[in-house]
Amino acid sequence: MSAGPLLLSVRELSVEFRTRSGTVRALERVSFDLHRGETLAVVGESGSGKSVTAFAVMGILDPAARITSGRVVFGGLDLLTENARALRDMRGREFAMIFQNPRTALNPIRRIGKQIADVLLRHANVRQSDVAARVIELLATVKIPDPARRARAYPFELSGGMCQRVMIAMALACSPALLIADEPTTGLDVTTQAVIMDLMAELARARGMATILITHDLGVAAEYADRIAVMHAGHMVEVARTEELLARPRHPYTRGLIAATPRPQARLDELYAIPGSLPDLRGDNIPACRYSPRCDQRQMDCNEALPRSMVGVDHLVACRHPL
């Protein structure tokens, strides 16, 4: 896919969480770009900062979080300096998010049609008299059979896959330019996962919508993303085009993740077990390269400042000794 104009630019974003047991440096100097119509997958282990990145872009971080540096530029505006009111107007209309586990993200005691109508009334210029028709139209867009009847259903009456379609319908209600999907198919069956991912890809293509796809599944990222960003312990360690990243990973962690993912050709003893676990992100003793304690390529100078270098066309890696 040829890169469209720049839509979102995240620069040097650092986020801290203040907790009882100390300050957690959850994100450190995260930078990436997203172009119109592009799908960027963010992959990494749990706790690597994938969701925190998404929440920071959406401006919905927990009150305990503090953004210590960086800029999030969306369509020429720095979202971090915009006031809350302007952000509320942009959310839903300009960028929308769908969450993991749709059943808990939907209100259990309101009919799904009403919940979609809420979004339309708040963010789109839809008149009260037209809302019902628009809701049914949206449900039809996400291929829910018999939309008029399903609009009156409660979330518990729908399957997990159907609930996720409803979430997508809500997110797409105002045709946003950016959709952030946080583990949209975790907990769904593989067959349902394929249908939901295909639906999202198709709708994104038809509307020229950019997508940030957060997933822990490299397989899903490989199939649907134009580019992949790999996160580890709050650092974005590698960003590259999908084929390039999978064929020629330059960061040891990326290579480890690929080698750890079960695939048809590999036996269990051929899979790689990444040693150790994420480092403690509290206090001041965090190594400069947060992967270095787990890294099998580690060298003496790895605890010096972490450089980021371009190692190919559109291929960024944060490692002193890239592979």
Partner: protein
């Protein structure tokens, strides 16, 4: 290999409450056919995988085999003796309870938050083996060591353990009483890939060392492929295909298996064609016994599929398929 577990024509039906029942008390209650006429065997030391989408009856089948639920019909024989005649509520007091153990899906939910790792592993030993004192101590440490848990971790509570460590505690607890059959219900679905590899290797290693039979439930065919000798594919309460794992996954004969295989995300081939399954499964409430359960979603569905339920037919080489039009 002799059969460790033999399941014959096992069925489980649940009655569902319907509205207005007090008006027609004599009408038969509708029933969910959760598990319908399922037969399979597990040999000593064998690993059998069970796959299928959520709601297909995997968990019910597993609970029947673990004797946490009573079957409506059929027989479960364990090491030659019929264990399905004992009511589930009594089964917990039989010595056979220790022989069939289970590892639950999400270790975080399955461990008592007020129990230390030691207590979690000691609990079944206390209840089923009546151990105490120094013997208990030795046995807990032995099980923990087999699962790669160091002794200083045993004093910790679940919230002080990582996901991988909790998974190890769940496995140690199950193998502490020396079972012969271990039922694993999606043991790695809550774990990251880096930890998943380690836990899968642990399971493989345990099997080699103590010769357990595994019934391994997962929706991840890539994981099934790594660990299982044979695989059972379940759809809407029935087994639609079974056979050696590599045969079934490389040349699926049932259209549902084919759809499952083609839905696995794959790093090697980006943007492939796949078999899409339209719609949702047929309702499991009082299903028509003469209609194939997959009819309506099946790309091969024909008129005969609505008239006649296909039987599970073995091909003589270990594979069995329930379809009127098997093969690619």
């Amino acid at each position: 290999m002799s059969a460790l577990l033999e399941v014959d024509n096992l069925s489980k039906r649940f009655s569902v409450q319907t509205e207005g029942r007090w008006l027609r008390p004599n009408r038969a209650r509708p029933q969910v056919h959760a598990v319908d006429d399922v037969s399979f065997t597990i040999a000593e030391g064998e690993t059998v995988g069970l796959v299928g989408e959520s709601g297909c009856g995997k968990s019910t089948l597993v609970r029947l085999v673990a004797r946490l639920l009573d079957p409506s019909d059929g027989q479960i024989r364990f090491a030659g003796s019929d264990i399905s005649i004992v009511a589930a509520r009594r089964f917990g007091r039989l010595p056979t309870r220790a022989q069939i153990q289970m590892v639950f899906q999400d270790a975080t939910d399955a461990l008592n938050p007020r129990f230390t790792a030691f207590d979690a592993i000691a609990d079944p030993l206390r209840r089923l083996k009546r151990l105490g004192g120094a013997t208990l101590q030795t046995e807990v440490t032995r099980a923990a060591r087999l699962c790669g848990l160091s002794e200083e971790l045993l004093g910790r509570f679940p919230h002080q353990l990582s996901g991988g460590q909790k998974a190890r505690v769940g496995i140690a607890r199950a193998i502490a009483v020396e079972p012969r059959l271990l039922i694993l219900d999606e043991p790695t679905s809550a774990l990251d890939v880096s930890v998943q590899v380690i836990i899968l290797r642990l399971l493989q290693d345990l099997q080699r060392r103590i010769g357990l039979g595994y019934l391994f439930v997962s929706h991840d065919l890539n994981v099934i492929r790594l660990l299982c000798d044979r695989v059972l594919v379940m759809y809407s309460g029935r087994i639609v295909e079974s056979g050696p794992t590599d045969v079934v996954l490389t040349t699926p004969a049932h259209p549902y298996t084919a759809a499952l295989v083609s839905a696995i995300p794959n790093m090697a081939e980006t943007r492939r064609k796949r078999v899409a399954l339209p719609g949702e499964p047929r309702s499991p409430i009082d299903p028509d016994p003469s209609t194939c359960r997959f009819y309506g979603r099946c790309p091969k569905g024909a008129e005969v599929c609505a008239r006649m339920m296909p039987a599970l037919i073995a091909d003589g080489q270990g594979r069995a398929v329930a379809c009127h039009f098997p093969g690619a």
